[in-house]
């Protein structure tokens, strides 16, 4: 078996394939995206080598970027009903979208093993919320695995599939960002399980009705009690160390942080309870741990899941134990990401060991580097056109999730609201209803439009709401690294498919859009002005591909004789390729020759070579 250097997400993908997954679906979202991409890559490899080996057939696999997380989960559930093993991937906020089918699926159950991978993002580093999927596991009553390293994740995802299939229930698998994006050497197997689905067998058990739910609920509670007992013997739930006094309870990537901190403090004797299955909580194991120490420090990011379980267990069983953590004693922050340094300080204090934190060096003032729209990004031109068209008029600009959230930065300053996928379109309608003298704009990208934007447009038409919809169609799901979506005409597996036409969809729901190239500034401004002057649901579709899809070969240069060095170009559009010294300068390595700056320059000092 070869040792491969794998990112946590790649390890999860290869583990799922080894477990016999044949249907994998998902919606892109950092930090989960690479799981499905890796599966697609592996299956494409099979396709290439199929004729040589004749062993596996790529056609036995269904791998798709679904239109959103709800669709992804439902497609996987259907396949699981037939006996196929399925994986669904998403980030934590995606679980909110998928929670409707998942809550019911918990009652209905599955036939083929089904794992729902939900990547949490303590920090949050690239998310809207810091929600904790371990808490969702308890709420949905679904078993949940919480790996502490890529190595462990590779094996644990296979355990998750076995458990799911045995108990006929979807299982949650919850890594966090630092695990998803950490790489480790992993001994991977070349042997993948082959599961031959039995097929869908018609049965009333697949139809959810209150009568079925009553029975299912009772069974789920009973199953989870038994599972708690079984998880107490699970390999990755463990007690380590020999102290009879000091204990630390932890799980997930925090386990790795705790081990690192204990090593630094030369305190590896501390008794550690490692929780790999936060739900159902391994109660018997935890009680053994409670009985073996006098005090416990609970170390976990996000919700106090382990802390509450230990408090509950100690209280319910009448045991005396000092529990320190984030909730009652507030020894650790209630939110945000933890670090080894922070934990070393806290654990040293808990153990009464001396530890001096390295002095933070005094730094000179450093340049700030917030993320910005790329040079040549068509979104910059679209935002600028709307800004120009609405200059001096009362307007509100509702943004959405994607690269274009970055339109909020100066100098564009064109995102007044951002909530969740697709929300900009409906928020705009609410604002316009309550504040009729404001022109309410909603910006939405192509992928978000398909994911959940189009329902908002239908709502606007149905309820005769007033709004201007701006579709930023850059022909890709850009923010997460360039995934396909229904507008592109290509699936995740590179197969040609129907390219859904956004203007045609808008027409079909009763909105006649203006379709414009945003890099034609005058035409773009005119289209927005015309739309703003009308009433009802209006739409402008700005079509231009993302510069990361096909990097244009054009270059803009500054004519030094004409340039006055006024800096207007930079101040107006904030393109990262523009630098202002005595004259304007254009960084040739960044410039795409989009010529937005050229159209802004009052002295015609910028020329584009094609």
């Amino acid at each position: 078996m070869p040792i491969r250097l794998l990112m946590g997400n790649e390890a999860i993908a290869l583990g799922a394939l080894a477990a016999g997954v044949s249907v994998a679906t998902g919606y892109p979202g950092t930090p989960s995206t690479e799981v499905l991409e890796t599966i697609a890559k592996e299956i494409k490899k099979i396709e290439q080598h199929q004729q040589e080996t004749g062993l596996r057939s790529a056609s036995a696999y269904t791998i798709e970027w679904s239109v959103n997380e709800k669709a992804a989960l439902e497609v996987a559930a259907g396949a699981s009903y037939t006996g196929a093993r399925t994986l669904v991937t998403m980030k934590q906020v995606g679980l909110n979208v998928a929670s409707d089918p998942l809550m019911s699926l918990a009652y209905i159950g599955v036939k083929g093993g089904m794992v729902v991978l939900v990547a949490d993002d303590p920090g949050p580093i690239s998310s809207q919320t810091e929600q904790d999927t371990r808490t969702f596991a308890k709420y949905s009553k679904l078993p949940c695995f919480d790996p502490s390293s890529p190595e462990e994740a590779y094996i644990m995802i296979q355990d998750a599939f076995e458990l799911s299939e045995e108990l006929h229930t979807p299982v949650l698998f919850r890594p966090t960002t630092r695990l998803c994006h950490a790489t480790a050497p992993i001994d991977v197997t070349d042997v993948w399980k082959t599961i031959t689905p039995e097929g869908f067998i018609k049965d009333p058990k697949w139809v959810i009705f209150p009568r079925l739910s009553v029975k299912a609920h009772a069974e789920i509670e009973k199953r989870n009690r038994a599972l708690s007992e079984r998880f107490s013997d699970y390999t990755f739930n463990a007690i380590e160390g020999r102290s009879e006094n000091f204990g630390i309870a932890t799980g997930g990537v925090c386990y790795a942080y705790v081990r690192e901190a204990l090593k630094r403090l030369d305190a590896e004797w501390v008794r550690v309870l490692k929780i790999a299955t936060p739900f159902p909580f391994p109660q018997t194991l935890a009680l053994d741990f409670i009985d073996s120490v006098e005090r416990v420090f609970v170390v976990e990011e996000l919700d106090p899941v382990i802390e509450r379980e230990l408090l509950y267990l100690a209280g319910a069983s009448g045991r005396t134990l000092d529990i320190y953590g984030k909730e009652i004693t507030e020894n650790l922050p209630a939110s945000g990401e933890y670090t080894v340094e922070m934990l070393t300080v806290k654990i040293a204090a808990y153990l009464g060991l001396p530890y001096e934190s390295p002095q933070a060096p005094e730094l000179p003032p450093l340049p700030v580097r917030p993320p910005v729209l790329c040079a040549g990004c068509p979104h910059r031109a679209s935002f600028y056109a709307v800004k120009k068209a609405m200059s001096g008029k009362k307007a509100v600009f509702c943004g959405d999730i994607g690269c274009y959230t970055l339109g909020n930065a100066a100098p564009l300053d064109m995102v007044d609201t951002c909530l969740c996928m697709g929300a900009g379109i409906t928020i705009a309608q609410g604002i316009a209803r309550a504040e009729p003298d404001t022109t309410a704009f909603a910006f939405v990208g192509d992928s978000t439009f398909f994911a959940s934007g189009v329902t908002g447009v239908i709502n606007a038409v149905f309820n005769k709401n007033d709004m201007v919809l701006i579709v930023l169609d850059n022909r890709i799901t850009a923010m997460t690294g360039g995934q396909t979506n229904p507008g592109i005409g290509k699936t995740l597996m590179d197969e040609p498919t129907a390219a859904l036409n956004i203007p045609a969809i808008l027409r079909a729901v009763g909105v006649e859009p203006r379709v414009v190239n945003p890099l034609d500034l005058d035409a773009a401004i005119a289209a927005v002005k015309a739309a703003a002057a009308e009433s009802g649901v209006r739409a402008v579709v700005f079509e231009y591909p993302c510069v990361n899809v096909e990097k244009p070969k054009n270059r803009a240069t500054v004519n030094a004789e004409k340039c006055t060095g006024c800096g207007l170009c930079r101040r107006e559009i904030g393109c990262p390729a523009l630098k202002i010294g005595e004259k304007a300068e254009i960084d040739a390595s960044l410039c795409t020759g989009c010529n937005l700056c050229g159209q802004v320059c009052p002295f015609d000092a910028i020329e584009v070579t094609r």
Partner: protein, 152 residues
């Protein structure tokens, strides 16, 4: 051995960490890496942590835990200097990259700051790479080589 690589999105920070990790693996050593990827890629700071050895638990190098910092950009090197171990080594490129949002930035001041620290400092002339290759693209590989020749 803990090596931290830092720079700006697009400079090849992650690629440099992959080179180091693969080499360690080929030498039969255990290696772990961790990257900041995602939103930070777009013109922002990028940091890669490479941890070689059996006794590394956390994917990220703790503060004060890096034996070596490979800094592809002067200000990013200074930003991450707290990660350097006492007596550690820093290889820094001379080429400053101004923030895409504008504002004053003097890379020389960063190099002067680094020269004033009690560290082993290797300064890599990025312009020499540019003169030779006509681009800065190979700067990441050049920096990895510079470090390997000196200490690995």
């Amino acid at each position: 051995m803990n090596i931290l690589i830092c720079g700006i999105g697009g400079q090849g920070v992650v690629y440099a960490s992959k080179i180091l990790a693969r080499q360690a693996l080929e030498r039969g050593e255990t290696v772990h890496t961790a990257e900041t990827i995602g939103m930070a890629q777009r013109g922002g700071s990028v940091v890669s942590h490479v941890r070689i050895g059996d006794d590394c638990h956390s994917p990220l190098i703790p503060i004060g835990g890096a034996d070596v910092i490979i800094g592809l950009e002067p200000a990013e090197t200074v930003r991450n200097i707290a990660y350097l171990k006492h007596g550690g080594t820093v290889a820094v490129s001379t080429r400053g990259i101004a923030p895409t949002t504008g504002g004053d930035y003097d890379p020389e001041a960063m190099l002067t700051y680094l020269k004033g620290l009690d560290i082993n400092l290797i300064i890599v002339d990025a312009e020499e790479v540019f003169r030779r290759d006509g681009s800065y693209r190979n700067l990441n590989v050049e920096m990895v080589n510079a470090i390997q020749n000196k200490i690995l």
